[in-house]
Symmetry: C2
Subunit: 187 residues, 2 copies
DNA sequence: AGGCACATGTAAAAGGTTACATGATTGG
DNA sequence: CCAATCATGTAACCTTTTACATGTGCCT
């Protein structure tokens, strides 16, 4: 039921197609509420039927036509009401952590490799977030940016994502060291 | 589909009832794969039918009887196989972040209050994790604990949860400061 | 020639949430 | 006396995932 609000929050940045949203055209929302393309296309249809968004069809010649969605006034109102309601607690689902939890009864080498791969991903995400941050700041200091820009929400969530991935990476390096020492001891 | 593996990982700590699991009797697993009691009772039944766990009924006089579940050998094997498969990427779902993202077009005061309340929760979780950590370490240093204890998995995931909540709290304090400065400027 | 990017969708299956249902005991 | 804890479950509903389906253009 929250997917639609995530979509509306993303549309505050401007028009987007289902495809854009699916790719996480707005990196920040997608990082706290991921969705598959199928989910998005369906939800966007429902939202249009309810008048929360409007679609504008772009005719294309060498590509499939696309529909660009934007928020309607009704959508803005609904989104505003949503922000006023207390949020439910967040949920994390991470298979890797289940594997780490079970590492002592499992395949330690495979778990170690999985942690390592996750760290590569984390690095890539950090780099992406940092590029996005530089783009937003555009040479200004954070203080200046925060006091002058129209919106602060996207910056706040971006920094949350960045902090999360940095922490993740930090933890991973430590966990790898622990696991390596373990396997050295067992050998 | 991963719920069962989370359950099995939790059962590595020893026997537990559905009720125990629902409360997150093992704080660490529950923090990366939450589930409602209903989900657990159903899954435990299915797992027993498949021979992954076994149940032992405890007759009680002043309380409803309970069923204590434990891993079978087949369960252990399945769990081990699971650790050898590459995990899918983790997912976070957090309504609060959607609200923060939309704060500039929403009810800023309500969002601020929501962040504040989340920080209270984060504090509580940090305290809980720290107590759990102290209980595990039991006076020993981390280094000593990691080199001597049979299992390291639960400690690794516990530290991940702790780092996550600390980071969360840190971000929240900063976000509150940003939001307050904003509302002061608008007033 | 093969694979990815673009761009959309349908349908079925699996998984997760919410409401309902029971009922004694303990603590404030 | 009211709320919480213990302890289990069913049923209905909603959400999410996965598989299938289509077709062009661009890059290597």
């Amino acid at each position: 039921m929250s997917l639609r609000y995530a979509v509306m929050a993303a549309l505050l940045e401007g028009e987007a197609s289902g495809y854009d949203l699916a790719k996480g055209f707005d990196a920040s929302v997608a990082n706290f509420w991921m969705a598959t393309p199928q989910q998005l296309y369906k939800e966007l249809d429902k939202m249009r039927a309810e008048g929360l968004v409007q679609a504008r069809v772009i005719q294309q010649e060498r590509r499939p036509n696309k529909r660009l969605f934007s928020l309607t006034e009704a959508g803005r109102r609904v989104l505003r009401d949503f922000t006023a309601v207390p949020p439910r607690p967040g949920a994390i689902r991470d298979e890797l952590m289940i594997k780490v939890q079970a590492v002592d009864a499992g395949d330690a080498e495979a778990v170690r490799a999985a942690v390592e791969e996750r760290m590569v991903w984390a690095q890539a995400k950090i780099a992406r977030y940092e590029r996005l941050r530089a783009r937003l700041l555009n040479g200004r200091s954070e203080e200046e940016y925060l006091s002058r820009s129209e919106r602060v929400g996207p910056y706040l969530t971006l920094m949350r994502g960045l902090a999360f991935e940095r922490e993740n990476h930090h933890w991973g390096e430590w966990a790898l060291a622990v696991l390596e020492q373990r396997s050295a001891a067992t050998t």
